[in-house]
Symmetry: C2
Subunit: 195 residues, 2 copies
């Protein structure tokens, strides 16, 4: 699948010291990587924040996944936040493996792009993107399938994230992030409250 260099509309940089805010609310993510001309995308509910600055993230990647091998080979990956409108796509790329469904990205309508200076594939339609450098921790990777990345750049859709905050209430509900419960069922990010 060819990468395009056409950036999504509303794709705006997020300052690194605010990048953790994209993930603070625990959304399900799409994990993307490429190596030697092969790109892949999987879904992961088990991803989260590890540190503020420099921002670090964790993500759990099963040994059976094709994307994990691309990350181990390239030392780079991206986490990105799919929307309510992308729930079926998310379940699709989280269920099919490229090992058995080589055209899984095409099958599930995944469109990729990349930013200047990076070969890591990013997924169109998401509302947050975090480009990461793998911090190699062989014990964690082998024993727990746990991967740590340092965020080197981040972007968000400025219709729903600006000035370091989500503003879902001001935009189309289709742009809200999703949180996997089980079996393709998701809780959509809901009301904003102050506590």
């Amino acid at each position: 699948m060819p990468l395009t260099s056409a950036l999504p509309a509303h794709f705006q940089p997020v300052a690194l010291d605010k990048a953790y805010r994209l993930m603070n609310h625990g959304p399900t993510v799409l994990v993307s990587a490429s190596h030697a001309g092969v790109a892949n995308v999987m879904a992961a509910a088990w991803a989260g924040v590890l540190d503020f600055m420099p921002p670090k993230l964790t993500v759990v990647l099963d040994k059976a996944t094709a994307t994990r091998a691309l990350i181990e080979a390239s030392g780079q990956f991206a986490l990105q936040l799919p929307t309510r409108a992308m729930a079926t796509l998310t379940t699709g790329v989280g269920t099919d493996s490229a090992h058995t469904v080589p055209d899984k990205l095409h099958k599930h309508g995944v469109q990729l792009f990349s930013v200047p200076g990076s070969g890591v594939p990013l997924v169109q339609g998401c509302v947050g993107w975090l480009l990461c450098r793998l911090i190699s921790e062989p014990h964690n990777q082998q024993t727990y399938d746990l991967f740590i990345g340092e965020v080197t750049a981040a972007w968000a859709d400025d219709r729903v994230f600006s000035q370091g905050r989500w503003h879902f209430e001001q935009a189309d509900n289709a742009l809200r992030t999703i949180h996997h419960v089980a079996g393709g069922s998701y809780l959509v990010s809901g009301d904003t409250i102050q506590g």
Copy 2:
């Protein structure tokens, strides 16, 4: 603060192989522990699932927190899921430290209980509770403030969680879980969708 052995209404066991489902959607949690007669509770947005069975969780605990020291000393802790109704309590116990506010639990209206056979304090009013045994990983704890726990027992409020699934739409909105964004602002778990 004395523990009571009176269990909350609607407090029902969750099978260990379904315990990860309590955390799969990335809620903000309260972290509780006790040692040598001292109990404490803090808030953590950076907690998540590490494995299905036996279920394992991760949580990031800053070195400055009093609760971390109790976990390191006792080797046990609990993660539990506060509700929309508990957002102010959650911000309170996440902001004040027992180091400087010794009566923080009383100040923020935290009521504790425990289950037979365990001395780990649990927080009344939550909708999910996961009792954990610390899996000692000194490198992760020291370098990343990252703690791993194996879930040894779990419970949920059966008004909102049953048969391994959340059912928020059938209950009072005040019982929905919350996801911290920043500065005491939370996204409440919203609609359930199938993707």
